[in-house]
Symmetry: C2
Subunit: 288 residues, 2 copies
């Protein structure tokens, strides 16, 4: 059995050299941008990438630009040794792990912002967050020049923002959204789940439970505004839950819906704090 | 004698197909982004490109994003037939001439802005101008994926902005600034020169004349603030001249200089209106 070892690369220059070779050989490059502390959600992206690409590059970079001043950049969980093993086992060819000083050697003067899709949801709660995301994703794409890039739908708004940027700038990459991966009990996988206490963890199940309920109500023809109220009520009943938002919007434009048209794609999106931990979850579905 | 004909391409998809072929053959791609109405300044960029690249792509696109609401987007001079002949004779391989609807088929929601270097000079007089420039240049680079891109130093601040963006986003392209091309009497070539009346054209010579004077004063050790005052005086004496700015800044950072250090690279930059026509000129030099 022949298996190529994964290579870990931490400089932009070295990354370019490897990928130039691969590109010259006509290999299709798939990219999985992450902030590390990998879980099955990330590995599902690698799996999807392996299916369509000859070569898979995963980046692990906790990007300071996308954290607000009072957010968890410093304490965001990191474990590069464990990540490296998991990435290799999943079939990653190149693990790109630049330091902040490699990505931003001088003050970053260039900012990319995407209008409209960044206005509601996490864009409203986390000012500047999506500027940081679109800027770093643009830069990672310049470095790796992937043919395909794989993103989890848990960050559905991020997918919408990156897709809009790629469209607007005619970036030569195809964005591939992949389904949310959940624990057996329904909790959406997130690197931030490690922050949760046992009680918070139990009560956080209300996110996926309310989304499942919402899908049922939707199929029964309950009005969106009523569904929104019921979800809000369900979550509010959990004493440790502090709602940031409960929203139902069109997807991927993320605009409010003037009227409910059957067949229209919508997102039901939640952000809820449990103690210091902010969790998000969503379902993308359609009006019946 | 074998000479390949220039190909004119107006869609992004067709442009990509041609360049994918070229890239597969290992050809180096040089790009000359322009707004058309070509003059010898543009052709000098093509010449520079031919010297280092196997293949030269010129784009002609009058980019609405970089014009303010009261600027000359509508009346900006256009002559694609003449441009096409000149480009072919200069040795352009592909002339990319997209319509606005091809570049911006849906409302452009993505904006790229570069801080600091866009603050003074034309950035102060033309709000949003450099956002339009960096956004369209980023998009053109995504479409053409050039190895080298050639820009005239007449738009010295544009060169600084694009260079900063390319650095910040690790774009895989080398920016090559090329010297200003002037008429025999010193007037810097510009597509906007056609707007000038005979009187305006004559008085506009004060721009290059004052810059030449400034270089002399500089070599005589005259203080920068005095040089600035003298240039302002010289230009003010022309009855048709309406000064937008006269500035001496560090280059390429474009910051004011707290102290004058010998050897420091500086730009002496001018923007002056003659009637409805706004002309710019500059010299990049150093403190003696």
């Amino acid at each position: 059995m022949m298996q190529t070892m994964m290579q870990q690369v931490s400089t932009i220059a070295e990354m370019r050299v490897h990928l130039k070779d691969a590109r010259r050989q006509g290999k299709t490059i798939g990219m999985v941008p992450t902030m590390g502390f990998l879980h099955e959600g990330h590995l599902s992206l690698v799996k999807a990438a392996r299916e369509v690409c000859d070569l898979v590059v995963m980046s692990i970079f906790v990007n300071p630009l996308q954290f607000g001043p009072n957010e968890d950049f410093e304490r965001y969980p990191r474990d590069i040794e464990r990540d490296s093993k998991m990435a290799e086992e999943a079939g990653v060819d190149f693990l790109f792990t630049p330091e902040v000083s490699e990505m931003y050697p001088t003050p970053m003067l260039t900012n990319i912002s995407v209008a409209n899709v960044t206005t509601p949801l996490c864009g409203a709660s986390r000012p500047g967050h999506f500027d940081g995301v679109s800027t770093v994703v643009n830069k990672l794409f310049q470095i790796v020049q992937p043919d395909y890039a794989f993103f989890g739908q848990k960050d559905a708004q991020q997918v919408a923002v990156v897709t809009q940027m790629v469209h607007d700038l005619s970036m030569p990459v195809q964005i591939v959204p992949c389904p949310i991966v959940r624990e057996a009990d329904g909790l959406a996988l997130s690197s931030r789940n490690v922050y949760l206490s046992a009680d918070e963890r139990t009560q956080a199940l209300v996110l996926s439970q309310s989304l499942r309920q919402a899908e049922e109500w939707l199929s029964e023809g309950v009005a969106l505004s009523t569904i929104k109220d019921r979800i809000t009520q369900m979550i509010s009943e959990k004493p440790l839950a502090d709602i940031d938002y409960v929203e139902i919007l069109s997807y991927p434009a993320l605009t409010p819906m003037a009227q409910e048209t059957a067949g229209q794609t919508i997102i039901i999106a939640l952000a809820v704090r449990f103690g210091k931990t902010r969790l998000i979850d969503n379902t993308i579905t359609s009006i019946k």
